[in-house]
Symmetry: C2
Subunit: 153 residues, 2 copies
C-alpha cells in the first residue's frame, strides 16, 4: 500500500529523525549531502564546517530537504520539503546551537552512547573545527510532502 | 574520527545498499527524492512511475546520487556521486529490469520477507502501474566521494 502521510505524521517524522539530506544547486551543479539536524517550529537547524554545501547555499538559497525511514524495500516513510537557507549569526547562531545541543543530548539519553557528539557540538561554539569556521544555519521549510509504503502483513 | 572511504569501500557501499536519493534540478527547482536501486558496473538502475523526478531528469540529465548508512550521529558512511540520467527503452529496459529483479530477489532471500516487491517489479514489465507508465532508467555515475565518521570505542 502506497499512501500520503498526514500533516501530523509529517511533523512527527521530522521531529523524530536526526539525519536528512539537503539538495542544493549552484553553478549548474546539483549536490545532495547528508546532515544531522534538529527540527523546531518548521525549521531544520544544522551546523557545518565551511565547505561546498555552504558555499552553494549562499549562492542559491532555494534548497530541498529530505528525510526517510526505510525498514526494507516495501516499508518506508519519507518527507520532502521545499526549503530556504538562512545563515545564522550572533544571538540567532547561539539559539540554534542551543536547539542542536538540546536535541543531541536527548538522543544521547535515549541511546546512552556517544557522548562525544555533544562535546563536539559544544566545542563548535568556539567557531573552529579542524581550522575551518563552523557555520550555523537553518532551512526554513515551506511545502512538505510525506509518502509511505507498507507491505508488511 | 572523520575520514574518506577508499574506492573499494565506495563500490562496496553502493553494491550493498538498496535505497539512495537522487537530486535533480529543473526550472529553478531542486528536488531530492528517495529511490530503491540496483548497482552494477558504475550504474544505478531504477524504475519509477512517470512523475516529477522523471520529468525533471528529462529536462536536466545532470543529477546527484547519494547513499548513506547511519548507525547514529557519530557513526555513519556516505557516498555522493555525480550522475547522468539515461532513460532506457527496448532491450536496455528489459536488461535493467533483470538487474533490478535479480537484486531484489537477492534481498528477499537475505530477508525472507516481502515477496511482494519482486512481484511488483515483474508486473512493471507490463509497463503500467496505477495507470501510469513505468520508466526504467540508469544513473551513470562519474566522480564519487565517500566519507565516514566513527566514534564508537
Amino acid at each position: 500500500m502506497l499512501g500520503t502521510l498526514t500533516t501530523v505524521e509529517v511533523e512527527r517524522l521530522l521531529a523524530s529523525e536526526f539525519t536528512g539530506r539537503i539538495g542544493c544547486h549552484a553553478d549548474g551543479r546539483t549536490y545532495v549531502v547528508p546532515v544531522t539536524y534538529a527540527y523546531k517550529s518548521g525549521n531544520v537547524y544544522c551546523h557545518s564546517a565551511e565547505g561546498r554545501k555552504v558555499r552553494m547555499m549562499r549562492k542559491n538559497s532555494d534548497v530541498c530537504f529530505e528525510i526517510d525511514r526505510v525498514e526494507d524495500v516495501g516499508n518506508w516513510k519519507s518527507v520532502i520539503g521545499e526549503g530556504r537557507f538562512h545563515e545564522l549569526g550572533g544571538r540567532e547562531a547561539l539559539e540554534a546551537m542551543d536547539v542542536l545541543i538540546a536535541r543531541f543530548a536527548e538522543l544521547e539519553r535515549a541511546q546512552e552512547r556517544h557522548p562525544s557528539y555533544v562535546l563536539r557540538a559544544s566545542e563548535a561554539e568556539s567557531s573552529r573545527a579542524d581550522g575551518r569556521a563552523i557555520v550555523l544555519f537553518r532551512i526554513q521549510l515551506g511545502e512538505k510532502t510525506g509518502r509511505f509504503e507498507r507491505t508488511s502483513p
